[in-house]
Symmetry: C2
Subunit: 367 residues, 2 copies
């Protein structure tokens, strides 16, 4: 059996003071690692989607924050904290929707504050350790999501996924793809349908790339073909990732997700959101509180293409990067601590309670 | 006020024995007319979507059939009929789904048979006249659809449309765009949202092009953003064209239409199919009887792009050109003889009855 996809999405090159990541804008045609040493480079790599996917963004930001302060020459904690806060604010401004970006940076800040009595160089070491732990925790989280997700599947099931919530979007395994990789290891013979995911084509460029590399049976379709493959009876479950889950279960994810969820409901197909608890935002009551990033219209009609695909004059464009799937369309939210079911106000609170009792971060947490 | 879109999509250059049409594969970057004189050129222009849209295909095929027989040297009717039938079969094989292709060629054949007692050169003249009449009838039809469609709209309404059922898809005015152009003339201040319509981007390349040229307020979105604009309350009605309507109202149209219809239902937005009666196929009981063309997978991941957007190895592709929207999602089917409402089995039969009583084709019919 072939191995699962084994490229490392993002890691730290501590010796050279660089965040190293696959430039996902070049996939599938070129596998190129970027070595980013400055804060503007790191922020831009997030902004320009060289690294994307909520968990991977969090990991990149955590390493970025560490690199942003590691060579600080200040000697007083208060000064060091000011340096950190400036770095944090700068990186957090890269993208507005993904919860993990803020979550990872908050976690770094808490690590710093927990170690405030220690010498600056010890705090810096702790931050490095914390960033590593954010990545390690992500990988453990995804494995757990994979187990819970696979428990919902049968042999030979057809799965639809949207965008890339795969290994490339995370530390490893992915969220929506974790059940697929686990099923692949265990001979489930799953058939995956990947929405190409306009305008940035993460499904075409990334999901098919990593699933094919892992030997998974994957079929690429345009987003607007989802209704057809559902109607044909080819889909037994939808798995998607998410960028933020509100307290009531409303879920922000890549643009197009909400439409897929409505189609799944219409065809009686279960629709599952794979959500590390780091993406769950209990402070946001519902989807209306989630800011939705709008991106450059050229992504729609110009990017990737040989020639512009629409007139540039006289036409308006609307390019939201995400949408919010109403909780009522979601069959279950799969976390590393179990599967939340409606009503989500209650079940997500229970999941977060389990998490806090387990001690967030588990072993290796620097607190 | 600006004028409506005024390029001629397809016409006959009788002097040079050519079907002349805008090469729609080059839009919006280049306006180039093709002058097609041979049967393989004409068939290929349909096959390769230089001309597309059910009514425009019908017009091109009618002129093509005329050109295919006009220089025939046979003298006996039976021999001439054999020549015609070969031409008809050849052109009809260009695309399997659009009803108008067969409808137009059948109409040409009936014209030929009605004139069988006449000399060959008179029959050829009659065919020329019939082809012109197919185009003229299409334009009259679209104007009527525009009036019926506009009766369903209010000032400042937002309209979503999918693919291009515009002037470029017809003799003139379009079907789904006819109410929009009419509303534009009458100061309705309609706001149109155009799905880009993957993989061939007819919405981006053609619909925005012709609506912008006519001064209509048009916003381009990716197909997967339709749910978002509906949820925002920006859409008061959906208008789409169609390639074939079955007797029960099930409607084949560009891939993605079925999904839009389901979303519209979910958001309580009326969903209208603009259907010249030439697209209504009373011999097909329901959508299951409509053959759906599958096209080259390269349209999904390679066409238009600077580089392939998916790995070419290890990935499967599925590229249906059309889908079938179940009648239950359709609020009304707007024909040139009125608006059919559910149950369509009855209302479409009534529409076809009105048509037959009116004498199909009206004035100018050669029978």
């Amino acid at each position: 059996m072939k191995t699962i996809f084994d490229l490392e999405t993002v890691y730290l090159d501590d010796e050279n003071g660089a965040v190293v990541l696959i430039d996902q804008t070049l996939l599938p045609n070129e596998i190129k690692y970027l070595h980013l040493t400055t804060q503007p480079e790191i922020r831009q790599s997030i902004r320009e989607l060289c690294v994307r996917g909520a968990p991977a963004i969090g990991i990149a930001a955590a390493y970025g924050a560490y690199l942003g302060v590691k060579n600080s020459s200040v000697e007083e904690f208060d000064d060091f904290y000011e340096v950190f806060k400036a770095v944090k604010q700068y990186l957090a401004s890269a993208r507005p929707t993904a919860m993990n970006l803020f979550w990872a940076l908050d976690k770094m800040e808490r690590c710093l504050l927990c170690n405030k009595e220690k010498p600056i160089d010890v705090i810096i070491d702790a931050l490095r350790f914390q960033a590593d732990e954010i990545k390690a925790e992500d990988i453990r989280t995804n494995k757990a999501i994979g187990e819970f997700g696979l428990s919902l599947l049968k042999m030979n099931d057809g799965i639809l996924t949207h965008c890339n919530a795969g290994s490339l979007a995370t530390g490893k395994y992915g969220t929506a793809t974790a059940p697929i990789y686990l099923g692949q290891e265990r001979g489930y013979n799953l058939r995956v349908f990947a929405d190409e995911t306009r305008p940035l084509l993460q499904g075409a460029r990334l999901t098919t790339f990593e699933l094919a590399a892992a030997g998974v049976d994957v079929t690429l379709i345009c987003d607007n073909m989802a209704a057809t493959v559902m109607k044909k009876g080819w889909i037994q479950a939808v798995f998607v990732g998410c960028d933020r889950v509100a307290a009531n279960g409303d879920t922000a994810n890549k643009i197009g997700t909400a439409g897929v969820a409505i189609l799944a409901k219409e065809y009686g197909i279960p629709f599952y959101v794979c959500a590390p608890t780091s993406t769950i935002d209990m402070m946001t009551v519902n989807g209306e509180g989630i800011e939705i990033e709008e991106r450059n219209p050229e992504e729609i009609y110009k990017k990737w293409y040989l020639k512009p695909m629409a007139p540039e004059q006289g036409v308006k464009f609307f390019n939201p990067a995400f949408d919010v799937t109403d909780a009522k369309y979601i069959t279950g939210i799969i976390t590393e601590f179990g599967i939340a079911r409606p009503p989500y106000g209650q079940s997500l609170a229970e999941i977060m309670d389990i998490k806090h009792k387990a001690g967030e971060g588990g072993k290796g947490r620097v607190e």
